[in-house]
């Protein structure tokens, strides 16, 4: 709990890449400048124009973790990572605002030549036969363990309550990069991964299942319910949110 001991509000933002640039532009439009303090490679910063806010530059996946533990008050990161790394998101964090950038879908994708499989229901059937033939479960390569498990067992993000097809004859193999290459390399039979244009999937001869969109994700401003909140930090939170219009 080291970071949340003062009346400063700690805001975690992505430390690099498109997400960081877009986050900086977002605050700039609200008249606040996201700046690093100390030398340029530092991991600390401030929101110029809003004293009392301390900025932590960290990796996008780490932001979810810090929010879950309450070690930062606010964070900007993708809903995909938040939902995956915080299984019971609603109890630990509050989604304050969808930010309109960082759009990507988390999807279930299978090799394109599986012409017998276009839905989750087909997948379960194919997986049953696969188990009988190969003696093992189909492997799903993913870095999204929780999202995969929840979706395959029938949970739908965005809350359609109707009954859905579940898939249980599978197992997850963790993939920390280049997930889309796993089926071609024989490391998995299918994948759950993020896609924005679909071109990477296509290049790897993969196809999204008709009912295989797990989550339409974008960057969100998120508040930790576990952080130590004071009147001062709550007021600062409202100011940050207010600057975003």
């Amino acid at each position: 709990m080291s970071d949340v001991t003062t009346d400063k509000l700690v805001l975690a933002v992505p430390s690099k890449g498109r997400l960081m640039e877009e986050t900086a532009q977002l605050f700039a439009r609200g008249g606040l400048k996201l700046a690093r303090t100390g030398n340029d490679r530092g991991y600390r910063g401030e929101l110029q124009g809003l004293p009392g806010v301390e900025v932590a530059f960290v990796s996008a996946s780490e932001i979810a973790d810090l929010l879950r533990k309450g070690e930062v008050h606010l964070g900007v990161t993708g809903e995909d990572l938040l939902r995956d790394l915080i299984p019971e998101a609603e109890t630990d964090v509050e989604f304050l605002k969808a930010l309109g950038f960082g759009h990507a879908d988390v999807v279930v994708a299978v090799p394109d030549f599986w012409i017998d499989v276009s839905t989750m229901s087909d997948l379960e059937e194919a997986a049953l036969l696969y188990r009988r033939r190969h003696g093992t479960r189909m492997r799903v390569a993913t870095k999204y363990r929780t999202l995969t498990r929840m979706f395959f067992s029938g949970h739908r993000y965005g809350g359609e309550a109707r009954s859905v097809d579940t898939v249980s004859m599978y197992r997850i193999v963790e993939s920390l990069g280049a997930t889309e290459g796993a089926p071609g390399a024989g490391l998995a039979e299918l994948i759950v991964d993020i896609t924005s244009t679909g071109s990477t999937l296509k290049a790897n001869s993969l196809r999204v299942l008709d009912d295989g969109i797990i989550l339409k994700s974008e960057a969100n401003l998120v508040m930790s319910r576990r952080a130590a909140w004071t009147d001062e930090t709550l007021a600062l939170k409202d100011a940050v949110l207010g600057s975003l219009g």
Binding site: F113, W114, I115, D116, A126, L128, L129, G135, M138, R171
Partner: protein, 404 residues
């Protein structure tokens, strides 16, 4: 300050540890007296095997890791599979009877580190009987020994809960439907919502249809009717994929895909599942009645149909009789058709032993019949097996009235 205390739910008092030790001595003595050989399988087990054989709930809660050699391993989340591996190792070739007992720790992830009744590491004391000469007798004996152990540990008030996947499988076999539908329904047994959904689908199979390009469709249809060989359909599929420029890669074979397509084509032509049969299966899954009344309740469901599962019902009645002989009155134990415990390896009789204090969600012991596990791990043919494990930390908690 970093929190250094042990996970919540880890009972640490010396009084608890002593009491747990005494309880273990009592239980293992009962197992030994009954002629079960003590075994101590490794705590660290190959991950693959477990992830393939256990149900989804437990799969998500198994501690899996990679060692420096790159081997995928896990901390055993249960002792039935390690015991089964040991049986296979020693007697897989001969298939001779063997009776094992164990008393050891298992590991299952719990959110937030767990609670007293659901710790993430806990002890299981259990017995497993492989290839018994008289399976029904073995079921009754295993149940009776579990109950005797719990009583000897000092708990007077406990109840049973039973189910029988053998009756369910007999029902499936007796109802007229394509074999692949049986496999689908049997697979969905453990998830009731999915099971019902599958029943609904089978009542209108025309919705399964896939638009398949000619001439692949012709070939698949012909293979289904048997006018060409399955191998020829695979060739037609290969040509189709080549025309479409679709890359074939990975472990799933064209043979499997052609097989699935033939199945889908067959579904299109199949008469739908008889709605009365679907209602019957649904009613069976929902059936809840005292054990002694279960066979007649099932007979009542079957009245007016030609379905005959008398042998399975007779086995159930025989088991109740054998249990009574062993001194266990199961007549009033609640039976439910949909009860199969959350382990997908069970194939027949299943039971749990419950305490009033911890209730249905936290059973003190559970077990049953699992005739396909030995084969699934590598035996050349199925081996009858029945076993039970006592959650000894929960048992102690119940004995101590909930005091840590």
């Amino acid at each position: 300050m970093e929190q250094l205390a042990d996970a919540p739910g880890t009972p640490m008092s010396s009084r608890w540890i002593e009491a747990h030790g005494r309880q273990s001595t009592i239980i293992t003595a009962i197992f030994a007296r009954a002629g079960f050989e003590p075994i101590a399988p490794p705590v660290i087990q190959p991950a693959d095997l477990f992830l393939d054989l256990i149900g989804e709930d437990l799969r998500a809660r198994t501690y899996v890791f990679t060692d420096p050699d790159g081997a995928e391993l896990c901390l055993r989340p249960d002792l039935t599979i390690p015991a089964t591996r040991l049986y296979l190792d020693r007697f897989g070739e001969t298939g001779r009877p063997a009776r094992f007992s164990y008393n050891g720790v298992v590991f299952r992830y719990q959110r937030g580190g767990g609670t007293l009744a659901r710790p993430r590491e806990f002890s299981q004391a259990g017995i497993e009987s492989f290839a018994p000469d008289n399976p029904a007798q073995a079921e009754a004996e295993i149940l009776a020994l579990s109950a005797e152990s719990i009583r000897a540990a000092g708990l007077r008030a406990f109840t049973f809960r039973v189910g029988d996947l053998g009756i369910f499988n007999a029902l499936l076999d007796a109802i007229d439907m394509p074999e692949r539908w049986r496999a689908q329904l049997s697979h969905h047994f453990w998830q009731h919502a999915a099971f019902r959904r599958q029943l609904q689908k089978l009542m209108k199979p025309e919705e399964f249809g896939r638009a398949l390009a000619e001439p692949l469709f012709q070939a698949i249809e012909a293979a289904r009717r048997g006018t060409i060989r399955h191998g020829d359909a695979v060739v037609a599929l290969e040509q189709h994929l080549e025309r479409q420029g679709l890359v074939v890669a990975g472990t799933r074979t064209l043979d499997e895909i052609a097989w699935q397509l033939e199945g889908l084509a067959a579904d299109l032509k199949s008469p739908p599942l008889d709605p009365r049969a679907a209602l019957l299966l649904d009613a069976y899954i929902k059936l809840a009645t005292p054990a002694r009344a279960a066979p007649d309740a099932i007979r009542a469901l079957l009245k007016g149909t030609t379905i005959d599962i008398e042998p399975a019902l007779a086995r159930f009645e025989e088991r109740l009789r054998l249990c009574a002989q062993e001194g266990i009155d199961m007549a009033d134990a609640p039976f439910s058709g949909g009860f199969g415990r959350q382990f997908e390896y069970y194939t027949g009789f299943v039971f749990e032993i419950l305490s009033p204090l911890l209730g249905e969600e936290e059973p003190l012991a559970g077990g049953g019949r699992y005739d396909r596990l030995v084969e699934a791990i590598g035996a050349p043919s199925p081996v009858t097996a029945v076993g039970s494990a006592i959650h000894t930390d929960r048992l102690l908690l119940a004995v101590r009235g909930g005091r840590p």
